[in-house]
Amino acid sequence: MREWLAPLALTLVGCASTCGDSSNPGAIGELGNGNFLYECGGSSDPVCEFNEFGENFPECIAVGGQFDLEYRLLEGDALGGGLELDPLLYIESVSQSFFEGVDEFQAQREGKAAFIVREDEHVLDIIHMQIVAIDDFEIVDRDPATPTAAIEVALGTTETFRVFPRSFACAQLGGAVPIVAESSDPAVVTVSAGDILRVQAQGPGEAVVRVRLGELEKAIDVVVGDGPIEPGSGSGSDGSGSDTDGSGSDTAGSDTAGSGSDTGGGSSSGGSTTGGT
């Protein structure tokens, strides 16, 4: 295992620069020797939906979700026994078929799998994380952060969206799942995706942007006007609002291959993820 686990090095006295700023209390390791801290895998990680650093350690990770972990030993001689530790600690995935990666991790398939913290010889702590399939996702406008199914974009402007995976099986889901998107008419809008979805208006007309997250797919109807968007007429590039009713993210015509889900009742995590400040 040592060969393929080129480790993420952490010092005993510190971790990433974000540690001090994070309000995320982390999760105590199963051997009780320290704290695991979660770092979002990107802007579309549900853990960081309301806060850059997240406020909770997720209960589970979405299949395909990317994230990172850090570890801090508890202060004092928590280990006892006068164990002489190598100053470098490593977080390793026990099985690459569940959590792939060394520097950051990506969940590969459903199940429960462990991460271990080790120094040169000893394993100091363990944490198991559940991996669940996503059964829905939400395309969320930037400001106001509302689910979006149809937008109007002014010519020459770009709209950005975060795309959050959801799972009815897990209220506090983690992991940024890579976004894939395509435009039905690149002459009207072009798209780029990955961590966030960008829709850029190219010419007047109407187009459909298909967004895929894992095996699920949704559509956004896009209208590009040849003049400025009037305030209140829709979710234009000025971010003045969404023309959806906010009750769900599915459009009537969007096919959700394999999902069959309708978020009309609200997202599974909108209320359960601890509200942001």
Binding site: M1, R2, E30, L31, N33, L79, G80, G81, L83, V94, S95, Q96, S97, F98, E110, G111, K112, A113, A114, I116, R118, E121, H122, V123, L124, I126, H128
Partner: protein, 131 residues
Amino acid sequence: MQRRNASTRLSAAALLAAPLLAGCQPRYDGVQVRFLFGEGQRAHDRIEVVEGQAVVVQVRPLSSNPYEDYEEFDLIDLEAYNENTLFVAPAPEKDQFVLAGAGLGSTVIRVLVNGDEEGSLDAEVVEQLSR
């Protein structure tokens, strides 16, 4: 001539003492394995760990010598033959080890006591049951 007699007597004494000294040593007779944490078990002929998961076990050597048990200072160590199947490493507590199922399959864990290989344990990494 006197020196030769003394040497002969020493050799004879050593020969006589050797079995007695050996009788004061613990005689390896397997290990006691206790699962302290995690989803694993010891089947009658092997240790089973679930793929992707980690367990903590306490391992203590057993002696078949009725007059001499292993002591606290006897150091036990485990080494997996195939770390791509089963990862084995000591935990901070003495005699405790973390076993982690890196990949499906079977392997063997070598048991070392005070640095000497004394035996082995069969181990299998089994599939996670679907939920």
